[in-house]
C-alpha cells in the first residue's frame, strides 16, 4: 500500500467513524483480527513465527548478542505456541549462511514471551557476520551484525536514534539507519510510549496505539509488538548491532525507578520485563530480571570508549538537595571509569539532556526531569571529569525531540568555567516537536539564556550519524523530509566537528548556513 493510499484510507475511515471499529485493536477483536486490522492500517510483520524480526546487540571483540521472539500472533496476549520452543541459531561469514562459524539451540519460554537471547562467543574481532533462527519448521530473515575491533581501529561510525512515537509518524529515519554504513546503532530511549490512543487520525497522526495505557506484562508485550510492526524498525535492527539505554516512556512519563508504591512497582517490573523480551540486550548484571542492568562500558578498538548510562532505574525525585539521577552505585561506577579511562574518545549514551537549559534569560529551567533537576550531582560528576583530566568527552542525548549542540561546562552559570566536553542532542525519529512558531520564537530566547548553547533546530525529524577517527569526532544530523512518508528521503542538515585534544565544537563551513532556529555565531 502506498503512503497516499494508506493516508486516504485513514482519512476515509476517520470520516465515517470506522477508526473506532479498527482501533483499539483489542476491543472485540480476536488477535488475528487485530493483526489484520493493524496491517490494513499500516503495520506489517515478518512471516510467523518470527513476526517481530531479528536483532543483534552489545557487540564485543569476541561476542555479540542475538535476539528474536516467536510471536505468530504479535498482538495476542498469549501466543499459540507450546510452553517452551526450541530455537536453532546459526552465525556465518556470508549472507547465505554457507560459511557457518557458530550454531546452537536456545529455549524460547512462554515466561519470557518466547524470546531468545543468545550471547554468541568465540567470534573474531572486527568481523562482519550474518545470522538467522529456525523454529517450528520456519526460518527467520537473515540479520547482519559485526564484532568490535580488539584494537587499532582507525575509524568508527555509528548512528543514534531516540523517541519514536508510533502514532506520530512512520520510521523513515530507521529506514535511513538501516542503509547507513555504520558499525553500530545506539538507541537513546523512548523506544515505545506507554499511553493510550491519541486520536485525531489522520490530521495529526498517521496511525495510533492499539489500545489504552499499558500496565501489565501482556500490555507492554503488545505495545512493543505494535512498534515492531514498522518494517523500517525491523530493518534497522537486522542491519546493525545495537546498544540500548532507555528513558521514561518505556515505563511511564517522568518516572523515578526508586519511587512509588506497590502498584507502580508492579508496572515497572512488567515494563522492564517486556523491554528485555523485545531487545537485543545482554543481561549479565549483578541482580536478575525483571531488573536488567543496562549501564555498561564498551570499547571500539582504541578509538572509542562508549559508556551507556541508565538515568531511570536508580534516580530519586527531582529538585532534591541530595537528589540523584544516577544512583549512588552508578555514580561511583561512572567516576571510577573516568579515573581509569583510556586515551580515546569518551562517549556517554545519555537518554536525557545533561546541559543546563533555561527557557529565557533569567527564567527557570525548562525541565527538571533532565539533569537540571539534579544540580548537585551534575556539578559533582562534571567537576570530577575536569579534576581527573578527562579529555575528548562527547555526550549523545535524546528525549528533547529537537537538535541541540552544547558546550559542557563545569558550571553552566559561569561562562568562564572550563568546557569539558560537547553534548549532541539528536532530532527524534518521529515524536512530535514544538511548532515552527514556537521554535522560531524560543530558539533565540534559549540561545540568549544559555551561553553554552551553540545550536538549536526543532523543525525536523531524523537521527545522528557520528564519524570518529583518532583526530576528529563529527556529528552529522540526518533529517527526513516528511515523517508521514515511510520512505521519506534522508538528507544531511548540518555537521559539527570536535577536534581531538581541544574542547568545544564547530559547525562545518559547508552547512553552517542551513536552517536553524538558533546558531551562535
Amino acid at each position: 500500500m502506498t503512503r497516499t493510499d494508506r493516508r486516504n484510507l485513514l482519512k476515509a475511515a476517520a470520516a465515517v467513524g470506522a477508526l473506532n471499529l479498527a482501533w483499539p485493536l483489542s476491543a472485540g477483536l480476536s488477535p488475528a483480527q487485530a493483526r489484520e486490522a493493524a496491517e490494513a492500517l499500516g503495520a506489517d510483520y515478518d512471516p510467523a513465527p518470527f513476526t517481530l524480526g531479528v536483532a543483534s546487540g552489545d557487540p564485543l571483540p569476541n561476542s555479540v548478542l542475538l535476539w528474536t521472539r516467536l510471536a505468530p500472533e504479535p498482538l495476542a496476549a498469549e501466543q499459540p505456541l507450546p510452553e517452551v520452543v526450541e530455537v536453532e541459531w546459526t552465525v556465518a561469514l556470508d549472507r547465505t549462511l554457507g560459511q557457518v562459524v557458530a550454531h546452537g539451540t536456545a529455549p524460547a519460554s512462554a515466561t519470557l514471551g518466547h524470546s531468545v537471547h543468545v550471547p554468541v562467543q568465540g567470534l573474531r574481532p572486527d568481523t562482519r557476520y550474518w545470522y538467522a533462527f529456525k523454529a517450528l519448521g520456519r526460518t527467520s530473515r537473515v540479520g547482519r551484525t559485526r564484532t568490535a575491533p580488539a584494537g587499532g581501529a582507525r575509524r568508527v561510525r555509528f548512528a543514534a536514534a531516540n523517541c519514536q512515537a508510533f502514532h506520530d509518524g512512520f520510521y523513515a529515519a530507521h529506514r535511513g539507519i538501516a542503509r547507513e554504513d555504520v558499525d553500530f546503532v545506539v538507541h537513546l530511549g523512548d523506544y515505545i510510549y506507554e499511553h493510550g490512543q491519541v486520536g485525531g487520525v489522520p490530521a495529526d497522526h498517521v496511525r495510533d496505539h492499539e489500545g489504552p495505557s499499558v500496565f501489565t506484562v501482556a500490555d507492554y508485550r503488545r505495545r512493543h509488538a505494535l512498534y515492531k510492526g514498522d518494517a523500517s524498525l525491523r530493518e534497522a535492527h537486522a542491519a546493525h548491532p545495537w546498544f540500548l539505554t532507555w528513558d521514561d516512556h518505556e515505563v511511564v512519563n517522568d518516572y523515578s525507578g526508586t519511587g512509588g508504591g506497590a502498584p507502580f512497582m508492579q508496572r515497572k517490573a512488567a515494563a522492564y520485563q517486556a523491554w528485555y523480551e523485545h531487545q537485543p540486550h545482554r543481561d549479565d548484571g549483578a541482580f536478575a530480571l525483571p531488573d536488567p542492568e543496562i549501564h555498561r562500558v564498551r570499547r571500539w578498538g582504541d578509538v572509542l570508549e562508549l559508556t551507556v548510562l541508565d538515568l531511570r532505574s536508580y534516580r530519586s525525585g527531582q529538585n532534591l538537595p541530595d537528589g540523584t539521577i544516577l544512583g549512588e552505585g552508578q555514580k561511583s561506577w561512572l567516576k571510577r571509569g573516568i579515573d581509569r579511562a583510556p586515551d580515546a574518545w569518551h562517549v556517554w549514551a545519555n537518554s536525557i539532556m545533561l546541559s543546563q537549559l533555561r527557557g529565557r534569560p533569567g527564567g527557570p529551567y525548562m525541565f527538571t526531569d533532565q539533569w537540571d533537576g539534579f544540580l548537585a550531582e551534575r556539578k559533582e560528576v562534571l567537576g570530577h571529569v575536569h579534576n581527573s583530566g578527562l579529555e575528548d568527552l562527547v555526550v549523545i542525548t535524546g528525549d528533547w525531540h529537537s537538535a541541540f549542540v552544547d558546550d559542557i561546562r563545569t558550571d553552566f552559570d559561569d561562562p568562564t568555567s572550563p568546557v569539558v566536553g560537547t553534548e549532541f542532542t539528536a532530532h527524534s525519529v518521529t515524536s512530535g516537536a514544538y511548532s515552527a512558531d514556537w521554535n522560531r520564537t524560543n530558539g533565540p530566547l534559549m540561545g540568549a539564556a544559555n551561553p553554552h548553547l551553540k545550536y538549536f533546530e526543532g523543525n525536523r525529524y531524523g537521527y545522528d550519524v557520528y564519524e570518529v577517527t583518532p583526530e576528529r569526532f563529527s556529528a552529522h544530523m540526518r533529517v527526513i523530509a516528511d515523517r508521514r512518508d515511510p520512505a521519506s528521503p534522508v538528507t544531511t542538515l548540518t555537521s559539527f566537528h570536535v577536534d581531538r585534544g581541544s574542547t568545544g565544537s564547530y559547525e562545518d563551513p559547508a552547512t553552517k548556513h542551513s536552517p536553524a532556529q538558533w546558531r551562535r555565531e
Binding site: 507450546p82 510452553e83 517452551v84 520452543v85 526450541e86 530455537v87 536453532e88 539451540t105 536456545a106 529455549p107 519460554s109 512462554a110 515466561t111 519470557l112 537471547h117 543468545v118 550471547p119 562467543q121 529456525k134 523454529a135 517450528l136 519448521g137 526508586t258 519511587g259 512509588g260 508504591g261 506497590a262 502498584p263 512497582m265 508492579q266 517490573a269 520485563q273 528485555y276 543481561d283 549479565d284 549483578a286 541482580f287 536478575a288 530480571l289 525483571p290 531488573d291
Partner: protein, 198 residues
C-alpha cells in the same frame, strides 16, 4: 523439596525489627533487611494477621532502607527425576511460592522473582510474584500467598531468586514483608517443549 535456603527467615541473626547485616542463605545485595519476629508487635504482622498457616517465628521485612534486595542462587540437581537429563528432555516443571505483604493502607511492598539460567548465565525463564498492593490486602496488615508454575526450559542449570522489598513515600520503615518462600521442581510425564527441526 524446597530448594530455597532459609525461605522462612527462621535462621541466623534477627528476631527484632532491627536491620541485620547478613542473612543465612541469602546475599544482601542492597539495603539491610530485618528478620522480624511475629511477636514483635508495634504494627508488624502478628500470628493473628493474614499469612502462612505454618509461619514459624519470623518473616522478612525491608528494615529501614528504601530498597532492600536479597539474592540467592540455586544450583539445579545434577541427577534424579528432576536432574539435568530430565530438564533437558523437557520433563521438569517448577513452582515458585511466596507470601508477600505490607502494612495497612501503605504501598510498601515485596516482590519475589526467579530467573532460570543456562550454563552461561543467560536467562531462559522468569516468574515474578507480587508485590501485593494495599488493595489486594484490603488495606490490612498481612501477607498473601502468590504462586507461579512453568516448565524448566532445556539447558537450565541454575535459578536466581531475587527478593526486593520497597518503601513508598516517606518514613523510615520499609514495610515490605515476605515469608514462606519456596521453589520446587516436579517431574512430568511428557515433554513440555517442542523441537525446532520439525
Amino acid at each position: 523439596m524446597n530448594l530455597v535456603v532459609n525461605g522462612g527467615a527462621e535462621s541466623g541473626p534477627g528476631g527484632s525489627a532491627e536491620p541485620v547485616g547478613s542473612v543465612t542463605g541469602w546475599v544482601v545485595a542492597q539495603g539491610a533487611p530485618a528478620l522480624v519476629g511475629y511477636n514483635v508487635g508495634a504494627g508488624y504482622p502478628t500470628p493473628a494477621d493474614p499469612g502462612p498457616v505454618r509461619r514459624g517465628s519470623r518473616f522478612f521485612s525491608g528494615g529501614e532502607s528504601p530498597r532492600t534486595a536479597l539474592v540467592q542462587d540455586v544450583e539445579l540437581p545434577l541427577t534424579g527425576t528432576t536432574g539435568r537429563a530430565a530438564v533437558d528432555a523437557g520433563r521438569v516443571r517448577y513452582t515458585l511460592t511466596a507470601w508477600l505483604g505490607g502494612y495497612a493502607a501503605q504501598e510498601d511492598g515485596a516482590r519475589l522473582s526467579v530467573e532460570f539460567r543456562d550454563a552461561k548465565g543467560t536467562p531462559v525463564a522468569l516468574s515474578v510474584l507480587g508485590p501485593v498492593t494495599a488493595a489486594d490486602r484490603g488495606a490490612r496488615t498481612g501477607l498473601l500467598e502468590r504462586t507461579a508454575s512453568a516448565a524448566v526450559p532445556p539447558g537450565a542449570r541454575s535459578a536466581r531468586l531475587l527478593l526486593v522489598l520497597t518503601r513508598s513515600g516517606g518514613g523510615t520503615s520499609n514495610d515490605g514483608y515476605a515469608d514462606g518462600i519456596s521453589l520446587g521442581l516436579t517431574a512430568t510425564a511428557g515433554a513440555t517443549s517442542t523441537g525446532g527441526r520439525t
